[in-house]
């Protein structure tokens, strides 16, 4: 956890907050990282999450939360710089490398992540996962899309519906 001085003027030593997952695991992170979540930011600004209190997140399990926090910790310094207008090309390339690697995971984890990012209102993470899922759909035939997304092979009726669809949407397959 590299913690560069944020220079916010708010505080000297980095303020820590505790988040509690649905399965009761406690995560202690810097307030700056947790504040990437618009939802948490309000609570944190109000002084919540410190000391022994902790902020309960009943919709996020510990596996998902630890992944979410990994993202927040990595992105917090850039976010503190206001979207990092003065970040070096190296910093940006490193974040991009991290992002690509970060979403290289099981679909089920991707879905839990995007759900958590949605609930916690972490815009960057939401778009990152949405883009990843969109990339999985791009340039594929209907059957490939079904298989990639884990839909079972179509029943004869569904197949007939698919054929009708492909006729109607012919322009989408040229």
């Amino acid at each position: 956890m590299a913690a560069p001085e944020s220079g916010d003027g708010n505080n000297g030593a980095a303020r820590m907050v505790t988040l509690i997952s649905s399965d009761n695991t406690r995560f202690e992170v810097e307030a700056a990282a947790a504040s990437l979540s618009q939802t948490l930011q309000l609570t944190i600004l109000d002084g919540g999450g410190g000391g022994g209190d902790g902020i309960p997140l009943p919709n996020v399990d510990s596996a998902t939360l630890s992944k979410v926090l990994e993202y927040c910790i990595k992105h917090a310094p850039a976010a503190a710089n206001g979207g990092a207008p003065n970040a070096t090309a190296v910093d940006r390339a490193e974040l991009e490398r991290f992002d690509n690697e970060f979403v290289n995971i099981d679909q089920s984890v991707l879905y839990s992540l995007i759900m958590a990012a949605h609930n916690l209102e972490i815009e960057g993470l939401q778009s990152l996962v949405a883009k990843k899922v969109a990339d999985m759909i791009k340039g594929k035939s209907p059957m490939e899309i079904r298989r990639t997304l884990g839909f079972p092979d179509p029943t004869p009726e569904e197949q007939a519906e698919m054929n009708a669809h492909m006729l109607e949407y012919g322009w989408a397959y040229e």
Binding site: I137, Y169, A172
Partner: protein
């Protein structure tokens, strides 16, 4: 006898594998289907129109999602004849124009079907003018 037992064993592992795969697939689909419309829309909006249209084959829910796009950007470049960057015949042009018109109509048709206000629909239908340029050049 030995051969039969062998065959039986072989079959049962095959069935087991098929069953596991099915469960796995359904599980995944369930997870995707568990996501709220907001999120699925977010995913669809990152696809070009023709790519998003293809997801309509997944289920009625995806047809609905596709027709709910808040903004329809038609990328004319995507309808240009393939492999013909510099020269295209009148035929190619006519074909890509026909596809483009079809593409424009489909989402609107689905929406009309849902009894939406027509003026509102037309306002929503945007054509990406930047992408329109290459086609115009080809059409001399």
């Amino acid at each position: 006898m030995g051969a039969t037992a062998e065959l039986l064993r072989h079959d049962s592992t095959k069935i087991e594998a098929a069953v596991t795969k099915d469960v796995e697939q359904e599980d995944q689909e369930d997870r995707l289907s568990n996501l709220p419309d907001d999120i699925l829309t977010l995913i669809l909006e990152r696809l070009k129109l023709h790519e998003a249209a293809r997801t309509s084959i997944l289920s009625r829910r995806w047809v609905h999602l596709f027709s709910q796009r808040s903004r329809i950007v038609i990328d004319i470049g995507a309808f240009n004849p393939k492999d013909q960057v510099s020269e295209s015949t009148l035929d190619d042009l006519a074909k890509s124009n026909a596809s483009l018109i079809q593409a424009t109509k489909t989402p609107v048709k689905v929406r009309e079907f849902r009894k939406k206000n027509k003026a509102e629909l037309e306002a929503l239908l945007l054509i990406d003018r930047g992408e329109a340029l290459p086609l115009r050049r080809q059409g001399h």
